[in-house]
């Protein structure tokens, strides 16, 4: 059945709906005026962003530090977990699936609030470390599921074949399982990176003074009102997203 005119129209409208606000923001990042009335083309807001916005770059750096470290840890633990779940014969796999699905079902704000109370309760100072812990926590289930779905493309007998040919457990792991699941591992890493860089709500609760991340910084700037600097940051982040999306498309299969 060919798609009808109706669904084509809706799709068209939806895409306009998606992109109009974004395009407007991009356009006005090049506006030569502070107020949202077009007066002329200028790079002034980018100049300001690159020369006199120390706190934004500090926040950006924090975001990058947290994203890379949290994604690395989440990917390693998630990959090992997926391998264990796929490979191992043990009881209680159902429980591991339940605690993996729960964080996806429970609203982010609950994860943020419960972690905040947890950190205060165990008297842990709120800092980049607590943000890192939170980010690893919400990325872990995604990493596990992505790698697991890649592993599922292969029959278990591949592992047995490695054993059969004389491989020890370590060799089967590093010479066979890790290489075949590598596209999944990479997808898990990039998924964790995006989740981490994107996260606002959970970070909002577990961040302490001096550990502002980019989304937190943008949030506080938005509260002050609209500004061409935000337009400029948004545009840069969008460019980053588009590059990332095109790159990620190859691995999309393991993400959805």
């Amino acid at each position: 059945m060919n798609p009808g005119k109706f669904s084509r129209l809706i799709t068209f409208l939806i895409l306009i709906f998606f992109y109009i606000p974004i395009f407007v923001v991009i356009m006005f990042s090049f506006n030569a005026s502070k107020s949202p009335v077009w007066v002329g083309f200028s790079f002034m807001w980018y100049k300001e962003l690159f020369t006199s916005s120390y706190t934004i770059w500090k926040a950006f750096l924090n975001s990058i530090i947290v994203a890379i470290s949290a994604s690395f840890v989440a990917t390693v633990l998630g990959t090992l977990g997926a391998i264990g779940l796929y490979w191992g014969k043990f009881k209680g796999k159902d429980y591991i699936w339940i605690i993996s699905y729960l964080p996806l079902i429970i609203p982010d704000i609950i994860i943020g609030v419960s972690l905040l109370i947890f950190f205060v309760f165990i008297k842990m100072k709120l800092s980049l470390l607590t943000i890192f812990i939170a980010h690893v926590t919400f990325s872990l289930p995604y990493a596990l599921m992505i790698v697991f779905s890649r592993l599922q493309d292969f029959e278990y007998s591949i592992i047995e074949a490695a054993y059969d040919l004389g491989a020890t457990e370590e060799i089967a792991l590093f010479k066979v399982i890790v290489p075949i699941s590598f596209p999944g591992i990479l997808a898990a890493f990039f998924m964790s990176l995006t989740l981490s860089i994107d996260d606002f709500v959970i970070t909002f609760f577990v961040a302490g003074p001096g550990s502002t991340t980019l989304p937190l910084k943008i949030y506080s700037m938005i509260r002050f009102g609209i500004s061409p600097t935000i337009n400029a940051i948004s545009t840069l982040m969008l460019v980053g997203t588009i590059v990332m999306s095109i790159f990620m498309r190859k691995y999309l299969r393991y993400i959805f």
């Binding site: 029959e155 007998s157 591949i158 047995e160 490695a162 059969d164 004389g166 491989a167 075949i180």
Partner: protein, 365 residues
């Protein structure tokens, strides 16, 4: 390369409450081509995996050359497996797949190259060295799996339905190649299949399995010609089963009476006495069929109910006067010169030699 003898002693295997193997005993000679034959789910793969060390028996013992190997894990056992789905490493090329076990042994690059090339020649994969498994055809994948297993210089090669995923013609070809390969490398082959024609055509000995038990072990000739029981008789090839009652017994032959057939003579291959109820098997190709009366002790008259022309032979279903429907295969030695071509609804005479039927079950009467 030299093979090992393999002995299975009283092996039991349970999956939960389900008994997959029941007191299995086997003795496989050094260098033999041995087949495990049985219907789907009878436990062939389970037994093979126990020999490979990928599964542990709940009781019993597995011995290679008289030495128990149950405590030796799969990666140290001198047996290698061709998996049902080949289980090639998707991320490695053909060359690297074959070299996998050699690299683990820390061989020098030159040695590896030399050895892999030899194996590639042996399984005729020249020119495919740098392809990934996904770029190969089914038959080629199977050859890589064989070369990869042989690279490890096993003393026993375990093959789990290695040709079942291929089409009929390729199956025949690769089967023949496997047979040749076996002659060349001289190691013990244990071959699992549910296809009786495969097992019969290549094996030195065949073990027929059913429901986790071994029901008969013998040469292909023995299991085809003198099946041990009703299951083997019907599972291997096609046959006529006849229920009969013994009415007379002498040294070599018995007289029986069967419903739908009447009275006839059979070879006494099992001890029976008058009044016993027995089950007889008679292969369809052992029966002579003609439009003219035939000489013989067991002669019957009937009508052709169905005729299936198959090229090299014709299958007939003949309803005997007393009602029994006999399956008969007639080979076409020279189709046109055969006396008269028999067709549907023709009246025919059939006969068979009493030596050709076998007793598969006896119920003392």
């Amino acid at each position: 390369m030299l093979g090992s003898s393999v002995e299975i002693r009283n092996v039991d295997k349970f999956f939960g409450d389900f008994q997959a193997l029941d007191k299995v005993n086997l003795q496989i000679k050094r260098g033999e081509f041995f087949s495990l034959l049985g219907p789907s789910g009878c436990g062939k793969t389970t037994l093979l995996r126990i020999i490979a060390g990928l599964e542990y028996p709940d009781s019993g013992d597995v011995l290679f050359d008289g030495i128990s190997v149950v405590s030796i894990p799969a990666n140290k056992r001198e047996a290698n497996t061709i998996f049902q789905n080949y289980a090639l490493f998707p991320h490695l090329t053909v060359f690297e797949n074959i070299a996998f076990s050699l690299r683990l042994k820390k061989m020098s690059e030159n040695e590896i190259r030399e050895k892999v090339e030899k194996l590639i020649n042996l399984v005729r994969l020249e020119g495919q060295e740098n392809k990934k498994p996904i770029q190969l055809s089914g038959g080629q994948r199977q050859r890589v799996a064989i070369a990869r297993a042989l690279a490890n210089e096993p003393k026993v090669l375990l093959l789990d339905e290695p040709v079942s995923a291929l089409d009929a013609k390729l199956r025949q070809e690769l089967l023949l190649e496997l047979d040749n390969l076996h002659d060349q490398v001289g190691i013990t082959f244990i071959y699992v299949t549910h296809d009786q024609a495969e097992a019969i055509s290549v094996s030195d000995h065949v073990a027929v399995m059913n429901n986790g038990r071994i029901v008969q072990i013998g040469t292909p000739y023995e299991i085809y010609e003198s099946p041990a029981d009703r299951f083997v008789a019907t599972f291997i090839g096609e046959t006529n089963l006849m229920k009969a009652e013994v009415v007379d017994v002498n040294d070599e032959f018995i007289r029986v009476i069967a419903k739908g057939l009447g009275e006839f003579s059979c070879y006494k291959d099992k001890e029976v006495s008058k009044g016993d109820k027995i089950l007889l098997t008679l292969r369809p190709e052992k029966i002579k069929i003609s439009t003219k009366p035939l000489e013989g002790i067991n002669s019957f008259h009937g009508v052709v109910e169905e005729e299936i022309y198959m090229g090299y032979q014709t299958k007939y279903f003949v309803r005997l006067d007393e009602g029994y429907i006999l399956k008969i295969y007639k080979q076409h030695v020279n189709y046109l010169l055969d006396e008269k071509i028999i067709h549907w609804k023709d009246e025919v005479f059939v006969t068979w030699n009493p030596n050709d039927s076998f007793i598969v079950e006896v119920e003392k009467g």
